[in-house]
Amino acid sequence: MRFMCIVKATEQSEKDVMPDQKMLSEMGKFNEEMARAGVMLAGEGLQSSSKGARIQFKGNQRTVIDGPFSETKELIAGFWIIQVKSKEEAIEWMKRCPHPHPGIDTNIEIRQVFENEDFGDEYTPEVRAQEDRIRREIEKKR
């Protein structure tokens, strides 16, 4: 399963203040660790919202609103997409992440990506029961 792990913006990141050398090297080490473990699929840092825009949908109208946007703490400053075996594993990886904004309280939000099997019937209770039944039968044969 895949998770998007979202780093939030701060006033600093919204001013496009680049992280210092120490931060960059710690983050680089963390990224390398995830890559070496075969977990990291993607990871990007985002520029400030002043360089972005929003397309507002209202009825049939589309209105373009240029950045910056005010609700800093709700904005995204970067993300990873990781492939892991459980939400717990995603949590454990992100607990190992260096503080993304030293000195400023913040959070990393972990959100599960929809997989195709989430739409199908692969993991319904019926299938699981079936699987348990097969296991029991296989064990009986041994």
Partner: protein, 421 residues
């Protein structure tokens, strides 16, 4: 945290920490079996203590300390035994239990040790099913129970396979090292085979009602990425990863809502995972840039890439696929490759040519009893509107497949032929 929660957390921590832990322990002890034992003892200690104490801040260091404590116990035990029997011969073994290195071992670059672990776990002297179990356990960080679930097997069976593997490593004195020179090629082939076996067990489950076990595909991809990081200059490592990424990109389209298989050309390509395809293309490009002649995995990845590039089935470049199969057949002259080539010929040059190629394979007799040969022949016959023969071939294929979902699909196609006849 409730009991099941903490256990899920412990297995998550284990997955992250255990490959490094085992690699570091194997470096100290030079003994994979012993390293694995010590790591397992550390896991048992975690399972006992973490539910009460909570997960420590530095779980990797905690596990290493627990493993070290266990090694000290073992050494004390061994010393006592040796003194009692006046032995000195085994002292040397006991000494390997204790190095000054435990405290710093995790901080070292353990890349080389991970690679030694890979080659030990996939050693051709081990029984094949032991290789997969040991690899998933040591490199994939899976617990015995998780491996058992993945292979629809029992925990005791998997545990036995791992015990057998460790005994073989001990008995045959398999060295803990990365092979060099001439030997490397053959040994790497064995490693790639193990990873692709895990992938295929997930991609086309040979047992049970489900056609797909995506979790096993993910495990194989993860192992493939780890290996690509450890051996960045080996073309076929990237070729295998490319092949797995591109094949895995289709997972969402390979079954319909009822869980039945959907054939490649009938798949809804909008459901293919474009990010996985892009990762696959990047790996393929890397593989092809490292070596001009494609190896078996790179050639298969190049074929898979042809399909991935076609946004609709009609846009498939079949002549190129035939050419790539010709190339693959030269380095991997198996009847299954020949069959796939025949299917491609059928698509590129018409069903009559395809059928002729398949009839040649039937005449060779190597694939008698292989349901896909009969399914492919049936498909050609159906396209040639020889519905009676097509129906008989579909039914024959259905009667010999092991997979229930696939059988249902084949019988359905037989029924369609009967209606057209």
């Amino acid at each position: 945290m409730t009991a099941p929660d903490i256990h899920r957390t412990i297995s998550a921590v284990w997955r992250i920490e255990s490959p490094r832990l085992v690699a570091a322990l194997a470096r100290i002890t030079r003994d994979v079996g012993l390293a694995e034992d010590l790591a397992q003892d550390a896991l048992v200690a975690a399972l006992e203590q973490w539910p009460k104490s909570g997960v420590p801040d530095r779980p990797g260091a905690w596990l290493m300390t627990a493993a070290k404590r266990r090694a000290i116990d073992l050494k004390r035990h061994e010393d006592m035994r040796a003194r009692k029997h006046g032995e000195i011969g085994r002292q040397a073994d006991a000494l390997t239990l204790l190095g000054p290195d435990y405290d710093t071992a995790l901080d070292d670059d353990i890349g080389d040790d991970l690679l030694r672990l890979v080659f030990t776990s996939c050693h051709p002297a081990l029984p094949p099913e032991s290789r997969t179990a040991l690899t998933l356990r040591l490199l994939g960080g899976l617990t015995t129970d998780e491996i058992a679930r993945a292979f629809l097997s029992s925990e005791s069976t998997i545990a036995q396979r791992i015990v057998r593997a460790k005994r073989t490593i001990d008995e045959k004195q398999i060295p803990y090292e990365v092979p060099r020179g001439m030997e490397l090629g053959a040994r790497l082939a064995s490693v790639l085979e193990v990873i692709y076996l895990v992938f295929n067990e997930g991609y086309t489950a040979t047992a049970g009602d489900d056609w797909l076990r995506p979790a096993l595909c993910d495990d194989a991809l993860r192992l493939g990425r780890v290996l690509a990081g450890l051996m960045p200059d080996e073309a076929e490592v990237h070729g295998l990863l490319a092949l797995m990424e591109i094949q895995a990109s289709r997972i969402g389209a390979r079954t319909n809502d009822a869980g039945e298989p959907v054939l490649l050309l009938d798949q809804d390509r909008s459901r293919w995972d474009r990010m996985a395809i892009q990762r696959g293309f990047a790996e393929l490009e890397r593989a092809e840039s490292l070596r001009s002649a494609r190896g078996v995995y790179t050639a298969q990845a190049a074929i898979a890439a042809c399909h991935a590039r076609a946004l609709t089935a009609d846009e498939t470049d079949w002549p190129r696929i035939v050419a790539l199969y010709d190339e693959l057949f030269r380095i991997m002259p198996t009847p299954v490759v020949e069959l796939n080539r025949a299917v491609a010929i059928g698509m590129a040059h018409g069903p009559a040519k395809g059928l002729a190629s398949m009839d040649a394979i039937v005449a060779e007799g190597d694939l008698e009893g292989y349901h896909l040969l009969h399914a492919a022949r049936a498909d050609m016959l159906e396209k040639l509107q020889r519905f009676g023969e097509a129906r008989a071939e579909f039914e024959h294929a259905a009667s010999i497949t092991q997979n229930q979902r696939e059988r249902a699909l084949l019988l359905e196609r037989a029924r369609m032929c009967a209606m057209n006849a």
